[in-house]
């Protein structure tokens, strides 16, 4: 498959002036040096193959692929070979090589620095603790050997020397962040942390030369714990954004722009970044589509898996919409670009996912806001205490102030929620639930009403064509099949997919039938135009709109899902489809009712079918034949009555209603489009996972409340104790570490116990399904 990335102008340009040359030895000619991002590697052997090939190319001085990051460093002699040749040889092997973006390098550097900071803090902590040991043992008379003041000072100086890198290097992120928040006139979480670190350090240095207890070990441990907590947070964050990076790299770098279409098919190659709305582009078979647009000419299939997760190719005829980043499979297409660059669906997707991942849940925002006030109060109290004690006993004043600031450790507050959230997200992922938006966890825990869609959610979505009735006199079966296949193939709705499959196998696709314009109306059906004739395939009501004729449904069609094909003149054919209820549905509904939640079923399907499903699953409130607007209104009414509504739907077809619900769960199989439109995605399409989600989020909310409650109680006890002077700074250090530890340990409780839904899973397996029970987190 020709890879048009090879011809990217970015690579074709001379490379030696892009990056610094690094000569290997003093007498070497200047070598060019660059980083590449290698794509398509699926195993360790892949990197070996590439390395072997490239290293043996004449002129390549060094080539090494980092198996973890899939980035390669290459050094070559520009006189003998160019970067373009190296990239071409990698492409020839079937992999892709792109210049590694600047953003990657920056993120890598950040990661490296974070690790260094943690390492230095940890290493120093261990050493300083050893130096501090003799002073701890000093008060115990049984231990032999006195600690003379000289040796005492020696140990203190040694501790101080090792603390210096910790304060001036490892703690920098806290100082920077504190400075940033101060510039915005806010007392952020890091301000008391920074003040605590600085004051403790200065006071300890003072004590090193003037006598008195020093607190280097507490200081370093404090810094190390905070750094470790932050690293874990960053890691979770980075994992979710890594998937996004992969998406952005799907849009090709170049495009073929048609010069004088329709007179000729001559094209020029242009960078995708320079495309504009209205540009006419030629998409070759096997090429990636560079922008969103519409088909003007040609006929092909496209792989839109990146958006829909659907591995089956979608037919594209004239008028069909094309998605930037999708892969054009078989035929050549002429398209008109409608949205380019940042405006494409893919970019919007990525931005939304990024924003969602960065969103802070309401509780965290609440904690942050209160923390600001809290911190200011603490600083005021510390200052006040210092002033008061200055009058009573000046030597203790500074230490009292330090104690107050250190003991009210912001770490309990700053760790309380994030630690639970990270655990909850991990636990949910282990149960097959992907969290697209952070606030979903809290909202799902508070949800009172659960609204289910029918097709594809409570039912498998694998509709089978049970019966077909031709209503138009004189229409041949094969003709009907061809027509239906052509129209149904343009939609991803479960009904369309079933019809496409059934009719395609019955009479073959295409057969010369092409429609000038095809468009899908969500939740209703597909409309195709052919010159003056207009066809509609979909819900009975949708098709009836075209011609207004009445219809008498044959008895055999009564309790099945019915789809119709019609044009302006009347009904053409009826299709009856059957769908199975998902195995986990009944258990899930029963569980929700047990928890006291209200369950509703809203569907666009016929009353009879909906009633049948509702009876089987024991859902009291079931409504059929609803248009999307009606579903919308029902949800809104519930919300106005004060309900917190959770919606479970198909991700791809229920978009508008899902976004209205307070929290939405999609059976999207992880398709990016489902992630954008919903808050939680059920990766394995199992309704048991809803039970897991409800239980885990409920527990998470309880734990967050416990943590915040503990932080509050702790501070209420600690502050008066510190101000009154009965505590020494080392008490403060212990109290601080202990309080954070308790918060973190409490958060770990989210991983405890095999709960009800997991036992359910085992029961199902024991009931005769030969599924292998998967290991749960």
């Amino acid at each position: 498959m020709k890879n048009d990335r090879m011809q990217s102008p970015a690579i074709a340009a001379p490379v030696t002036n892009r990056s610094a040359s690094m000569p290997l030895q003093a007498n070497d000619t200047a070598l060019a040096h660059d980083k590449l991002s290698i794509g398509g590697m699926r195993c360790a052997a892949c990197s070996q193959i590439i390395e072997y090939r490239v290293q043996h190319m004449a002129g390549v001085e060094a080539f090494h692929i980092n198996a973890a990051s899939h980035r390669a460093e290459v050094r070559w002699d520009p006189k003998q070979i160019g970067l373009r040749d190296i990239v071409e040889s990698i492409s020839a092997l079937g992999y892709s090589a792109l210049p590694a973006g600047e953003k990657h390098a920056d993120a890598d550097h950040q990661k490296k620095m974070s690790w260094w900071r943690l390492f230095i803090a940890g290493f120093a902590m261990m050493q300083v603790m050893m130096y501090a040991f003799p002073a701890y043992l000093q008060p115990v008379p049984q231990i032999d050997g006195d600690l003379t003041p000289d040796i005492d000072r020696l140990l203190k100086i040694a501790s101080m020397v090792l603390t210096i890198p910790v304060v001036f290097f490892s703690s920098m992120p806290f100082f920077k962040s504190a400075w940033r928040s101060l510039r915005h006139r806010r007392i952020g979480m890091d301000v008391p942390v920074s003040i605590g670190i600085i004051v403790t350090f200065v006071a300890s240095v003072w004590a090193t030369y003037r006598g008195g207890p020093v607190y280097y070990d507490s200081l370093i441990m404090f810094v190390m714990l905070l750094l470790a907590a932050r690293m874990i947070e960053e890691r979770v964050h980075r994992k979710s954004t890594a998937a996004l990076q992969a998406l952005t790299e799907l849009v090709p770098l170049t495009a073929q722009r048609l010069l004088d279409y329709p007179l000729s098919r001559r094209t020029e190659q242009v960078p995708a970044a320079s495309l504009r709305e209205g540009d006419l582009l030629l998409i070759a078979p096997g090429a990636q589509i560079p922008a969103d647009g519409r088909v003007l000419e040609g006929h092909s299939e496209c792989d839109e898996a990146l958006m829909t997760g659907e591995s089956q190719p979608v037919q594209k005829a004239i008028g069909a919409a094309l998605v930037g980043g999708a892969l054009n499979l078989s035929g050549q297409l002429v398209m008109q670009a409608e949205r380019v660059g940042d405006a494409t669906q893919l970019s919007a997707l990525v931005h939304k996912m990024e924003a969602a991942a960065n969103e802070k849940p309401p509780l965290v925002e609440l904690a942050d806001r209160h923390a600001s006030v809290f911190m200011t109060a603490i600083l005021a109290i510390a200052l006040l205490a210092a002033l008061v004690w200055w009058q009573i006993d000046a030597s203790r004043a500074v230490w009292i102030a330090v104690t107050v600031m250190v003991i009210t450790c912001p770490c309990a507050l700053s760790l309380a929620t994030p630690s639970v959230m990270s655990g909850a997200i991990g636990q949910l992922a282990g149960n097959g639930v992907l969290v697209a938006r952070g606030r979903a966890i809290e909202t799902l825990a508070r949800a009172t009403h659960f609204v289910f869609d029918k097709t594809g959610t409570l039912t498998e979505g694998r509709l089978q064509l049970a019966d077909m009735l031709i209503l138009q006199p004189g229409l041949e079966r094969t003709q009907l099949l061809n027509m239906t296949a052509a129209i149904a193939a343009a939609s991803m709705h479960p009904v369309s997919k079933a019809l496409a499959k059934a009719t395609a196998s019955g009479g073959g696709f295409g057969g010369g039938v092409q429609y000038a314009a095809i468009r899908e109306i969500a939740g209703q059906g597909v409309e195709a135009r052919d010159g003056e004739r207009c066809f509609r395939l979909g819900n009975l009501g949708f098709v009836q709109e075209l011609h207004g004729q009445a219809l008498e449904l044959p008895a055999s069609f009564a309790d099945k899902t019915v789809s119709a094909l019609g044009d302006e003149r009347g009904w053409i054919a009826l299709f009856a489809l059957q769908d199975d209820i998902r195995p986990g549905a009944a258990a899930c509904i029963a569980f929700l009712r047990e928890q006291g939640k209200q369950v509703l079923l809203l569907s666009g399907d016929k009353h009879d079918v909906v009633a049948k499903v509702a009876r089987e699953l024991q859902i009291d409130a079931a409504y059929g034949e609803l248009r999307p607007e009606q579903k919308h209104d029902m949800v809104r009414t519930l919300q106005q009555q004060g309900a917190v509504v959770a919606m479970i739907g198909d991700g791809m077809n229920d978009g508008p209603v899902l976004s209205l619900a307070d929290v939405s769960i999609a059976m999207g199989q992880g398709a990016p489009i489902a992630q954008v439109r919903s808050d939680l995605v059920l990766m394995s399409n199992r309704l048991q996972d809803v039970q897991a989600a409800v239980t885990i989020t409920g527990r998470a909310l309880a734990l967050i409340r416990q943590n915040l409650g503990w932080a509050l109680v702790y501070n209420l006890i600690a502050i008066p104790a510190a101000v009154s002077g009965i505590l020494a700074p080392w008490h403060a250090a212990i109290g601080m570490s202990l309080s954070s530890l308790i918060v973190v340990l409490n958060s770990l409780r989210i991983f405890s116990r095999r709960a009800a839904w997991q036992q359910e899973d085992i029961a199902l397996d024991a009931a005769g399904q030969l599924a292998v029970p998967d290991a749960r987190g």
Partner: protein
Amino acid sequence: MEILYLLVPLSVVLVFAIGGVFWWALSRRQFDDLDEAGERIIQDTDKPDE
């Protein structure tokens, strides 16, 4: 206990030395891929005898 006057400063120097060695090893990418060295033995990169 005068020996401590030697040992404690020596330990501080050692801490910096160890840190430096770790930095050097990291910059030579020795920690990048821990499995590669073991796999190199199994790789089939020998030239066939002509």
